[in-house]
């Protein structure tokens, strides 16, 4: 009994440490300026003034819209590329297949930071600075994990199913759209969840390619807000809360699906 209490206390302490910053930010966002630094977690005179200030100083709606469009675009693009590539690697035999697959997986090891200069130059040359194409297209290239994931799942499809589809006269396109994609729906939705989340949280690329405050994403806007408003912590915590809340709600409503997505994909 005593051991059980000790165990629960230890686990709860770790969770408290992990969740503390976000919880404290949310609680602080309701405090008026004189109480901002109080140790008491709850505001004595709760106020929404910080949210008012954040919304007026921060093109919030625009940034949320940009981020949603970007994350949706990257997700759609990666899913299409990964499904096609996964099928290409499983359904065909051709020379250099192993080499091509190794090159695909090897791209995981190239650090994103090492590519920012040339990628920026290419995007700039294409006229993609400060627009959605620049935000979305280069992020689709980070698709190696998805290719690996979908290939593994496609390889596990029973051969007899593919064979009978073939006997029935199905073409590759029909096998892919009528057999493989419906069978892989859980893996594909897991991939979509993962890609959406990581793109929503992406900071470095949007910072470089869309630094204009109205054209950027919520992560960049928040960081910009922090450098500009310095120690105005009240509105900043309100802005941080608004940034976190959509993801938090999505996660709490679909916990199982989100954690399973991360497990499905191995590691990310």
């Amino acid at each position: 009994m005593l051991r059980a209490i000790a165990r629960h206390t230890a686990v709860i302490a770790v969770i408290a440490f992990i969740a503390f910053p976000v919880a404290w930010a949310i609680l602080t966002s309701f405090k008026p300026p004189p109480e901002i630094y109080d140790l008491s977690p709850l505001a004595k005179h709760p106020t929404l003034a910080n949210y008012d200030a954040a919304v007026t100083q921060f093109p919030l709606g625009r940034l949320l819209l940009n981020t949603t469009i970007m994350a949706a675009g990257v997700t759609a693009g990666q899913v299409v590329v990964c499904v096609l590539a996964g099928y290409g690697f499983v359904a065909f035999r051709f020379r250099a297949k192993r080499l091509l697959y190794a090159a695909t997986i090897g791209s995981i090891l190239v650090p994103q930071t090492c590519l920012i200069i040339p990628d920026y130059l290419i995007a700039a040359r294409l006229g993609w600075v400060d627009n959605y194409l620049g935000l979305i297209v280069p992020q689709i290239a980070a698709c190696a994990f998805g290719v690996m994931l979908l290939r593994q799942h496609m390889e596990a499809i029973p051969a007899s199913l593919v064979e009978s589809a073939k006997i029935d006269g199905a073409t590759h396109r029909q096998i892919l759209t009528r057999l493989v994609i419906p069978l892989l729906r859980p893996a594909i939705s897991a991939l979509a969840v993962l890609v959406f989340l990581s793109s929503w949280n992406e900071y470095l690329w949007p910072l470089l390619i869309a630094s204009g405050s109205g054209n950027s994403t919520i992560q960049v806007g928040l960081a910009l807000f922090q450098t500009q408003e310095g120690s105005e912590y009240g509105p900043m915590m309100a802005a941080a809360t608004i940034t976190t809340l959509p993801v938090l709600i999505v996660y709490l409503l679909n916990q199982r699906r989100v954690t399973d997505a991360f497990l499905h994909a191995g590691l990310r």
Partner: protein
Amino acid sequence: MTAIPRPWGDGRELSVPLRLPSPGPALYLLPVVAFLLVWIYLPLLFTGVLSFLHWNLVSGSRPYAGPQNYTQLFRQGEFARAAGNTAAYIIGLLPFATVFPMAMAITLWKHPGRASLVYRSLLFLPVVLAPVAVAISWQFILAPLQGVLDTALTWAHLPAPDWLGSGATALWTVAVITGTKIFALNVLVYLAALAAVDRGCLDAARIDGASEWAVTRHILVPLLSRTTALTSFLCLVLGGQWTFVNIAVLTQGGPLGRTDNVYYFLYQYGFSFFNTGVASASAVVITVVLAITVAAHQFAARRLVASDQ
């Protein structure tokens, strides 16, 4: 009992070969090849070229620099310090990637139930939360003088350091903040590995009189060794990159370069100092070091497998 159907991708031909009139694999693989070439592999080559030129990202002339960018990189000491800090980050992150999540996962796994499920989903939170928002929240908590942590410490008559502003603590503070996220992800990874462990095997040991600690130490930890090899390898390769957002938001590499790492160094040379040559040279060095690390790991893993047989 039905036989397990043969998987499609087991390497054998289908009994009905899939040779159909169609453009073949090219059509399906074209998009992935195009994306990887345009945004990853050609840029990598391009980086190599840029590392031998003097350039500021905008000017029309790009004089050939020879090895000058590399000599500058290695002579300056700034890059060496960033590399040392990167190593320190990796060491600091290692327990958050291995021991801590393993201990937490074993604790949760040994006592399944409703509470464990709730803990499990709460522990995962840092993985999904926006890193910039989390970093800003930490900055507020850790603010010197008035931040809630230092206020509490002063109230308890304990020393209240300037966590992110002093050279002695800044790097480790950034490492711990980054560590919470890695910890959260790896708890899940270890739990997944434990799901495959046969609980009966532990009961047998317990009946033989093994203590809980002995069960953990001599059965579970060895069973998880493959997972630990993976988590520590990923920490080695990716640890430096994981810290990037927190450095960018919390310290910008300061105080006096104490929290700089090689990735932030590259970013600053490229986009704050507009020194494309030195930034590209550092990118080349980072990529080569990573490639060597991965190759060495692959080689060692193969040798290990070979010696097992």
